[in-house]
Symmetry: C2
């Protein structure tokens, strides 16, 4: 933890951002920056294959945005409890685009509920009124915990399960943006896309082939912008 | 993790129990035992003062109930994010009984949401349909995340944020029981109360003076049963 947290200030304009280091959470952080007097970044390690690379992105984004505080949370137990091709050493990540109506095997069961619960505990403790998450419902993964209905349910859970002394609200400003619109929003806010990481593999360079890389490259192409991240190959 | 988990069996009669090692979660586990074909125990360490003592209770209860599987989850980050007199080394635990309408300083912000989120991730991964929690709304702590409105909100969150392939439901069978009724329910189910731990202090013997010990002793007294746990002092 860095930065002093003054718990007596008004909470409503202070924000925690869940920052994986990917493109969506980066643009979300940039939006939160414009809407907050104080900013706190929260990053989770959960034995995802790209844990090390994501942490590097997180550090680069801390250096860039200089938040008032940040934390890296170790959810090592996810390796034991959560079945997902994103976690551990197996090689089953799909290279194909997502199939409509199917949940991809990269889905980490109920991950966003876990992350938002941690953020809420922190927010209630230091009196922060807003939690930002880069969930995208449209044009994206098909994960159930990235949908508006989930965010709304979480906000009702916060109302039911916290003291209410400091009202806390989850915001997901990208929820209904297309990937192309997210890139354009990021350009508008001058986000450092070169620091973000989307690839499902933990390499020096993004693979350009996994479904996450392909979604990202397609978004930049549609936006007419060159992705500043180096790729091993581009289609 | 011990025990083999066959993920192909019917999920609806398999259960995960959140087991702190306290009296309420113990009676909850005994109820779950009667309602489940397979039983899994989940325990959390979160730098609570009584972490070591609770873990001993958990181990004793594993030996007693022999669940089909169990896990101890390390939430070490709670020490950093959650402000509570239960966590860490400070000496501010209140000795007085709870004051109606006030949240005790032993409240751990949004703890139960964190625990239920972990249990849900595990349940979705191994196809378990029920999660038991020993939350008590009446005659108890005043914690917001022990209320029926919270449990209901969590069940709606699960519906919104999981795939639905394996429907999962949180059950809190003690929610509207008094502490006395919980003792009587435990006696009916022959629970080994001697293995449970309720004291807020991490000693060889329960203090008998903290609000948790007093609630427990009062419950046994009202039930007309002698608490088999040794106490340093009893009023």
């Amino acid at each position: 933890m860095t930065g002093n947290i003054d718990v007596n200030n008004s909470a409503t304009d202070r924000s925690i951002v869940l920052l994986s280091g990917g493109m969506d959470s980066l643009v979300t952080a940039a939006i939160a920056r414009t809407e907050s007097s104080k900013l706190y970044f929260l990053h989770a390690k959960y034995r995802q294959r790209t844990e090390k690379r994501e942490l590097q992105s997180f550090k680069d984004l801390i250096a860039h945005y200089q938040p008032d505080g940040y934390k890296t949370i170790d959810l090592g137990y996810f390796e034991e409890i959560a079945l997902s091709s994103l976690i551990g050493e197996n090689d089953s990540i799909i290279y194909e685009a997502n199939i409509p109506g199917q949940i991809p095997d990269t889905y980490v069961p109920f991950r966003n509920a876990n992350l938002l619960a941690i953020a809420t505990s922190w927010a209630e403790s230091i009196k922060v009124g807003k939690i930002y998450i880069g969930a995208v419902e449209e044009d994206s993964s098909g994960y159930p915990d990235c949908r508006e209905v989930f965010i709304e349910a979480f906000n009702r859970l916060i109302k039911a399960g916290t003291t209410g002394v400091c009202p806390i609200e989850v915001r997901a400003p990208l929820l209904h943006l297309s990937k192309k619109e997210i890139v354009l929003k990021g350009m508008e806010l001058s986000v450092p896309f070169q620091y973000s990481w989307s690839c499902y593999y933990n390499n020096e360079q993004a693979c350009g082939r996994c479904s996450s890389c392909r979604l990202r490259l397609k978004a930049f192409k549609e936006a007419g912008i060159d992705d500043p991240l180096p790729y091993l190959e581009r289609e």
